[in-house]
């Protein structure tokens, strides 16, 4: 894992680095530290939406559009790990075959590995790695589990939320939390019946949303609702233009830096929490915990008092 090779565009070196980051290997983090100053250049876009709503097809169409505009593209496509076996089937590449053979495109599939917010725990680091490697555009496709996949807003600068037709006029169908993270809404499969109604429902929901938020989370940016037929690229150049406009807005308004600082603070907290726990866990003895559990079971002590005693008696090692 030589940073020089990665910067020189060696795809094998990049791919191996991504694997090591996914596996949370120390040497991979060292390379990221060495290249951290190279990050912050790429435009990072997240795409989220229900299973089968057309995320991969749209991502592929966006990539084709960026390539036609002379920009290089990296794609991170996340699919769920099985909670039973830990294995996964990562199938997003199926919709991206047309990008094959283009040296300006790099596609990487990721399993969520137990994380629940639509991304894997390491997805933000892989996006940073692709940024450092020099790609102009980095796109993250979330798991389509139909839950509130809002983690993507913590890894991307611009978030596209997609809805396929079929929503009708029922705004209740829009998942809680998903509108709050959208910088841009796209109704995919606009060739299918019901697309118009879905656009109307989303616009109505956005109006309620902005009325409810007195000042709005991002004043100065009205969330647009666009439509696409990704297989034919219809509507895709409007999406690309809107993404560029959003980036320009983030820069000129200062909202981009503000958001990034917030994202970084959150990530810092998460990492600290994890680190503190790991160190604490090193000092924990499961036999001792089993003894405490036995005492709780016999009603000799309550849970909260046991927690206090364990905390007071556990030695936290200085180093991991």
């Amino acid at each position: 894992m030589n940073p020089e090779h990665i910067l020189a565009g060696d795809r094998r070196a990049l791919a191996r680095w991504l694997t090591a980051l996914e596996d949370e290997r120390r040497e991979a983090q060292e390379v990221l530290a060495a290249l951290f100053a190279q990050t912050g250049r790429a435009q990072i876009t997240g795409v989220t939406g229900a299973p089968g709503s057309g995320k991969s097809t749209l991502v592929a169409a966006l990539a084709r559009g960026w390539r036609a505009r002379g920009q290089t593209v990296a794609i991170l496509a996340v699919d769920p790990s099985s909670p039973f076996s830990g294995g996964a089937i990562l199938g997003d590449r199926v919709r991206m075959q047309a990008l094959s053979g283009d040296p300006g495109v790099f596609i990487r599939s990721m399993a969520s590995r137990g994380a629940l917010g639509g991304l894997a725990a390491t997805t933000a680091d892989l996006a940073r790695a692709l940024d450092a490697a020099g790609f102009d555009q980095v796109v993250i496709e979330t798991v389509g589990a139909g839950q509130s996949e809002i983690d993507v807003a913590r890894a991307a600068q611009t978030t596209i939320v997609i809805e396929a037709p079929g929503l009708g006029d029922d705004i209740q169908a829009i998942k809680a939390g998903i509108l709050e993270i959208a910088d841009l809404l796209v109704v995919t499969k606009a060739d299918q019946p019901g697309a118009e109604a879905t656009v109307r429902a989303l616009r109505a929901a956005l109006e309620l949303e902005s009325a409810a938020r007195s000042a709005g989370v991002a004043p100065g940016w009205a969330v647009p609702v666009l439509t696409t037929i990704a297989p034919t690229s219809a509507g895709v150049s409007e999406v690309l233009d809107t993404l560029a406009a959003h980036q320009a807005f983030l820069r000129s308004s200062g909202a981009g830096s503000g958001r990034e600082v917030k994202r970084l603070q959150r990530e810092l907290e998460l990492r600290l929490r994890q680190r503190v726990w790991q160190r604490f866990a090193l000092g924990l003895d499961s036999d001792v915990l089993a003894e405490w559990a036995g005492r709780i079971h016999r009603r000799e002590i309550d849970l909260e008092s046991a927690v206090k005693s364990v905390l007071a008696s556990t030695h936290i090692p200085e180093h991991e």
């Binding site: 996964a88 075959q97 094959s100 399993a111």
Partner: protein, 134 residues
């Protein structure tokens, strides 16, 4: 313990991916991360996916009869990409003489339609682990 990453690809022009999908599920159920790329892959597409995904093993499902044309090309491209050590498996209806020829070319194992899934899983794990350890 890290998850093994395996590419399951269908090079060639036949349109039957049931076998490939069954294998993909069996490997998933064995705890592996399976990258599935869909139908009608060229050897170039397979090698490129193997490179970008940094896989520990590649499985080719070939029912079109073109295994002797497609497989050597995949192996050659993977070697050129510095992935000559990644084990490649071939599944399909392969006559025994052809299977021997494929193994001589460097294919790790050839699986016929009757191969029990447990054998496939065990062979993939053993070959991938051997490379990972080396």
């Amino acid at each position: 313990m890290r998850a093994l990453r395996v590419l399951i690809a269908k090079p060639g022009l036949d349109g039957h991916d049931r076998g490939a999908k069954v294998i993909a599920r069996a490997l998933r159920d064995a705890g592996m991360e399976v990258i599935y790329t869909g139908l009608r892959q060229t050897p170039e597409m397979v090698a490129e996916a193997a490179l970008q995904e940094d896989v520990d093993a590649v499985g080719l499902s070939i029912l079109s009869g073109a295994h002797l044309a497609l497989t050597p090309r995949v192996l050659e491209l993977m070697r050129a990409n510095g992935q000559g050590d990644v084990p490649v498996f071939v599944g399909g209806i392969i006559p025994e003489d052809d299977a021997t020829a494929l193994r001589e070319l460097g294919v790790a194992a050839v699986f016929g339609p009757g191969t029990p899934m447990a054998d496939v899983v065990a062979a993939v794990r053993a070959a991938a682990d051997q490379v990972g350890a080396g």
